[in-house]
């Protein structure tokens, strides 16, 4: 896979399909990278404008939900003069195939990037089976 180049991408709006949020406003899908390390899944999501108190990560019935609310307080008293992108909250869900140990999930938010460490439940981890020579030879 070649790395993606930095170009302006239109934000992808979340399709609600009949399920609407109680608060009006557009939700965007954060761009994510998901990968696998030996004993955990790793996820990074770009959510610029979200601070840690406005972020929620939940895991329920193998569905991982990431939701971030954007604060608009910094825009108070300002009027737009020229705009190239829209501002909105973030929402995305994933169904996890692996069994994740919910109690040991680690989340951190740094400079608008959410980093999740989702440790697999012990039995789901690949185990190397040692082949021993048969007894009695």
């Amino acid at each position: 896979m070649t790395p993606q180049e930095l170009v302006k991408k239109e934000k992808q709006q979340v399709q609600t399909k009949g399920q609407e949020k109680t608060r009006p406003g557009v939700y965007y899908m954060p761009e994510v990278d998901i990968g696998e390390a030996g004993d955990s899944l790793k996820l990074w999501a770009d959510m610029p404008g979200v601070s840690d108190k406005d972020l929620s990560v939940t895991l329920e019935n193998n569905i991982l939900t990431i939701e971030g609310m954007v604060s608009t307080s910094m825009y108070e008293g300002l009027s737009p003069r020229y705009t190239e992108y829209n501002v909105g909250n973030y929402f995305r869900q994933f169904t996890l195939n692996e069994t994740i140990d919910a109690g040991r999930i680690k989340a951190s938010l740094r400079n608008g990037v959410l980093e999740l460490d989702l440790p697999k439940v012990k039995k789901a981890r690949p185990r190397k089976i040692e082949v021993r020579p048969a007894q009695g030879k």
Partner: protein
């Protein structure tokens, strides 16, 4: 009976979105700036004595920014690097985020002093405040009486 509102609708994200969309669709606002489609996308806001340029650039190192001003042009240069994956890495399932070096020049209208700009970075947002020239700042004009007669009234 009127519906109760628990929140001022104009303080919400929705109000900001509507305002930004209105500006996006209004060509008269885009005078003086250029470069739609470049990375990073920017929004420019007006304050009384400043312009504020906001760009969404998540995951950058504060030290990686190189912002310079020449004449009326501001140039932002930086590099976005991928996080460390760790030793026992087995591969990606999804790779949507982009990385690499970028550089963008923003041509400011004459009324702004690019060399006096201040930049801040937080929550993945780069905010650059550029002051207006003294002469371009709005000033209050007091109305004085034109004649003795008006003064007495």
């Amino acid at each position: 009976m009127a519906l109760l509102r628990f929140e001022d609708p104009f303080s919400s994200v929705l109000a900001l979105q509507q305002e930004l969309e209105r500006t996006l669709l209004n060509p008269a606002f885009s005078m003086g700036f250029s470069g739609y489609g470049a990375y990073p996308p920017i929004n420019v806001f007006d304050e009384k004595e400043h312009a504020m340029i906001v760009a969404e650039v998540p995951g950058l190192d504060l030290k990686s920014f190189d912002i310079s001003a020449q004449g009326h042009t501001l140039t932002i240069h930086s590099e976005r690097k991928r996080e460390e994956e760790g030793g026992d890495w087995m591969g990606y399932h999804r790779r949507e985020r982009a990385f690499g070096e970028f550089s963008r020049s923003i041509q400011l209208p004459e009324e702004f002093e690019a060399d006096k700009a201040e930049a801040k970075y937080g929550n993945g947002l780069l905010m650059i405040r550029v002051p207006r020239h003294e002469a371009a700042k709005p000033s209050q004009i007091t109305v004085q009486a034109a004649s003795e007669e008006a003064r007495r009234k």
